[in-house]
C-alpha cells in the first residue's frame, strides 16, 4: 500500500488516534484497579456500606 506524498500526515493521524485510544484504555483500567484497591482496603479495616457495621480503625499502638 502506497500512501503517496502525504504519508506523514496519514501516519500522524493514525498515530494520534490510536495513541489517544490507548491512553483512554490505560486510564480506565488504572482507575478501576485503584478504586477496587481502595474499597478492599476500607473493607479490610471494617468500613462497610452498613453504618452499623463500622468498626473504628484501630489506632496504632492501642489496638
Amino acid at each position: 500500500m502506497s500512501l503517496g506524498p502525504h504519508a506523514a500526515y496519514i501516519i500522524a493521524a493514525y498515530g494520534i488516534t490510536f495513541g489517544v485510544i490507548a491512553a483512554l484504555i490505560a486510564w480506565v483500567v488504572a482507575d478501576h484497579r485503584r478504586q477496587r484497591r481502595i474499597l478492599a482496603d476500607l473493607e479490610r479495616r471494617g468500613v462497610t456500606r452498613r453504618s452499623a457495621n463500622i468498626r473504628p480503625t484501630p489506632i496504632e499502638g492501642t489496638a
Binding site: 494520534i16 478504586q35 479495616r45 453504618s51 463500622i54
Partner: protein, 244 residues
C-alpha cells in the same frame, strides 16, 4: 428483569461486569475488520491516499456530537427524573467526548494541511467543533471544582443542556455559512455521495468507534460508581471516628 432495575447501582455493576468482556472483544474485532477494509480501500480520485484520514476523522466527529447528545439526555434524567445513574452517565461521558473531539480536530487538521494548504482555518464548522471541545473541558473543570457529586451533577446538567444548542450549529454550519469544510456526504436525503468501496470501511470504522465508546463509557461509569462508594465509606468512617 425490567430496565428500571438497572437504576440500582449494585445491579448495574453486576451487569457491567458481565457484558464488558464481550463488548471489549466485539470492539477489538470490529477494529480489526475496519483496519483490513481501510487497508484495501482505494485512493480518492481527488484527495489520493489522504482519504484514509477520513476513516478516523468522521467517526470521531460523529461520536463527539453523539456524546454531547447522550449527556443532554442524561442531564434531563438528572434534573427531571433524578435518576441515580444519570449524572454518573453524564460525568463519565465528558472525558470520552473530549477525547473524540480532540481526535476529530487533530485528524481534521492533519487532513486540512495537504488538502487546503492550512492546518487550521476559522470557518464555521471548525470553529463550532473547537467550541464543543472547549465546552467539554469546561464541564470537566466544573465537575472537578464542586466536591459534592449531586450538586456538581445539577450544575453540569444545566450547562450541558445550554451547550446542546451547539449541536445543530455544528451539523448545519456547512449549509448555513460558506465554509471551506465539505458538506455532508453520508447522511443526506438523496443517499450517500461516497462510492461503496470507501463508504463500507467508513461505516465499519464508525461501528468500531461506537462499540469502543459504549465499552469505555460502561467501564468509566463502573469506576465512577465505585468512586462514589469509596466517598460514602470515607464519610461514614469520618463520622464513626472518635470525637466526630
Amino acid at each position: 428483569m425490567a430496565l428500571i432495575d438497572f437504576a440500582n447501582p449494585t445491579r448495574f455493576l453486576k451487569l457491567v461486569d458481565r457484558v464488558l468482556p464481550w463488548l471489549a472483544g466485539a470492539t477489538a474485532l470490529a477494529f480489526a475488520v475496519a483496519l483490513v477494509q481501510v487497508y484495501g480501500a482505494p485512493d480518492d480520485y481527488q484527495q489520493g491516499a489522504t482519504v484514509k484520514i477520513m476513516f478516523l476523522h468522521v467517526p470521531a466527529a460523529w461520536l463527539a456530537m453523539f456524546c454531547w447528545a447522550l449527556m443532554s439526555i442524561a442531564a434531563i434524567g438528572t434534573l427531571v427524573f433524578r435518576h441515580p445513574l444519570a449524572d454518573v452517565a453524564a460525568k463519565t461521558a465528558a472525558p470520552l467526548g473530549a477525547a473524540f473531539t480532540f481526535i476529530c480536530l487533530a485528524t481534521g487538521s492533519l487532513w486540512g494541511r495537504p488538502m487546503w494548504g492550512a492546518y487550521w482555518v476559522w470557518d464555521a464548522r471548525l470553529t463550532s467543533v473547537l467550541v464543543l471541545f472547549i465546552m467539554y473541558l469546561g464541564l470537566l473543570a466544573l465537575w472537578r471544582s464542586v466536591d459534592d457529586p449531586s450538586r456538581a451533577g445539577r450544575a453540569a446538567a444545566i450547562l450541558t443542556l445550554v451547550g446542546a444548542i451547539n449541536l445543530p450549529i455544528i451539523k448545519f454550519s456547512v449549509d448555513w455559512w460558506n465554509t471551506l469544510h465539505q458538506g455532508s456526504s453520508v447522511v443526506r436525503l438523496d443517499g450517500p455521495a461516497i462510492h461503496p468501496s470507501i463508504l463500507m470501511p467508513l461505516l465499519t470504522m464508525a461501528v468500531a468507534f461506537t462499540l469502543l465508546f459504549i465499552t469505555l463509557h460502561l467501564a468509566t461509569m463502573r469506576n465512577e460508581v465505585l468512586r462514589r462508594r469509596v466517598r460514602s465509606l470515607r464519610l461514614l468512617q469520618a463520622q464513626a471516628a472518635p470525637g466526630a
